[in-house]
Amino acid sequence: MTHWRTQALQRFLPWLLPLLIVAGWQLSSSTGWLSNRVMPAPGAVVEAAWQLSRSGELLHHLGISFRRAITGLIIGGGIGLVLGMISGLSRWGETLLDSTIQMARNIPHLALIPLVILWFGIDETARIFLVVLGTAFPIYLNTFHGIRGIDRNLMEMARSYGLTGWPLFAHVILPGAMPSILVGLRYSLGLMWLTLIVSETISASDGIGYLAMNAREFMQTDVVVLSILLYAALGKLADETARLLERRWLRWHPAYSKGAVT
């Protein structure tokens, strides 16, 4: 019984602070202490969400942002993964690629925005290109180090059991590098949203970033806050997806298994 109660308390406790904050927020808005120009009441944000959902606008912008993010991640992550594997698996690949990539990695990709706009204008390609740039490097880096970090003794054992080529890759190299690759994926997911927010805010005619900037012009603080919350929710969703993959693919790892002692 006490055990059950402790568990319920543990479930509830993390929500306590957010609830108090929202309550305080609503209170200061309705007493007029917090101006609507600065911060809309939580109720107003919910209202805006409701209105925009009903008109279908919300889903439209959400879908567009989501599609951009995923497209960029798949292309960027794919490039990072493939290049990381080439560098990780072959010394020649490393010599050819790694120093160049390490150099390029040090350029903050958002610094390229003016150049990207010159190249692609402000259309879809520009935004996806930026997301590609943002997501490729973390995955490249972690794939490379994941492969290089595989226990040499395990590789030797696998070879002595006759594994070469694809079986060696599929049974030893890829699963051995997977913890590191997933760390790279997490970093990439973070950068994916960050890049998209910036690029949609600067130049877009749709997407959540556009929604926010458009609302700013009309001083619709409720929609602005709603957009920020949406980004947060999408970020959380991405993080949960990465966690799910970790729990699924790294089940064997004592640190990720369900009964892990933390």
Binding site: N153, A158, S160, Y161, G162, P167, P175, L250, W252
Partner: protein, 285 residues
Amino acid sequence: MSTPTNVASLYDVASPRTATTNARRAHPTGGLGLSLEGITKTFGAHQVLNHIDLDISAGQIVSIVGRSGCGKSTLLRLIAGLETHNAGRIDTNGHPLAEQTRLMFQDDRLLPWKSVINNIGLGLVGDWKARARDALAEVGLLEHADKWPAQLSGGQKQRVALARALIHQPRLLLLDEPLGALDALTRIEMQQLIERLWREHGFTMVLVTHDVAEAVQLGDRVIVLSSGRIELDQRIDLPRPRRHASPDVGAIETTVLQHVLGRNEHDATVFPASTPAATSIEGRA
């Protein structure tokens, strides 16, 4: 150091093997005999193995002992094909060595991302699950088939590694200090298990160990390596299973230990072989 005398020549290496005192279930293929001729290995300027000549007859257990760094692992890895030698040859009478040989390492080297049963099936194609379960049953771990290696104890992991080697029905099993990291009781259990499996399967076995007692317990022969050469080649014709610390076993342990430590009459009195501590050259890993 004086040249090795009488013991090695008394037990002539090349003489044909006398019948074992134990009945043995026949292996479909039997053990693989092999002979090393003038095997030499250098790493840079460092000569690790210096013209090793060694005949290993089919079905024999050969124990190899020697100080740390004397080249035991290198010799084993050469036979397993994981290193190449600089001179000499390994003759197996035309049998393909690599396919019929399995090497077991000091660390279990199980793939942590594969379940126990899938580790045993590593490198196998086709319908191997049933065979893997048989192999697992042989080492007494059938109920752990679906666990992750991380969930097993050190001794259990080594048994899985043993099953993984045995499923390939090797005709030559090479063991590189496989029990070095185990506690004393688990060690004895593993020794008995290895001896039983050897009796049942009839493979040839080369066992590298730093434990002289273990070498004498299991070996048909004990080889002492020193400075890249064979310092002693000691036959052991005692009946199996051998009792720990029996006088016969103790006498041989003393001889072997003297050679390992550099044959010195003085040392022999300092290290009585019957005390377990004195039989371990390198201590526990």
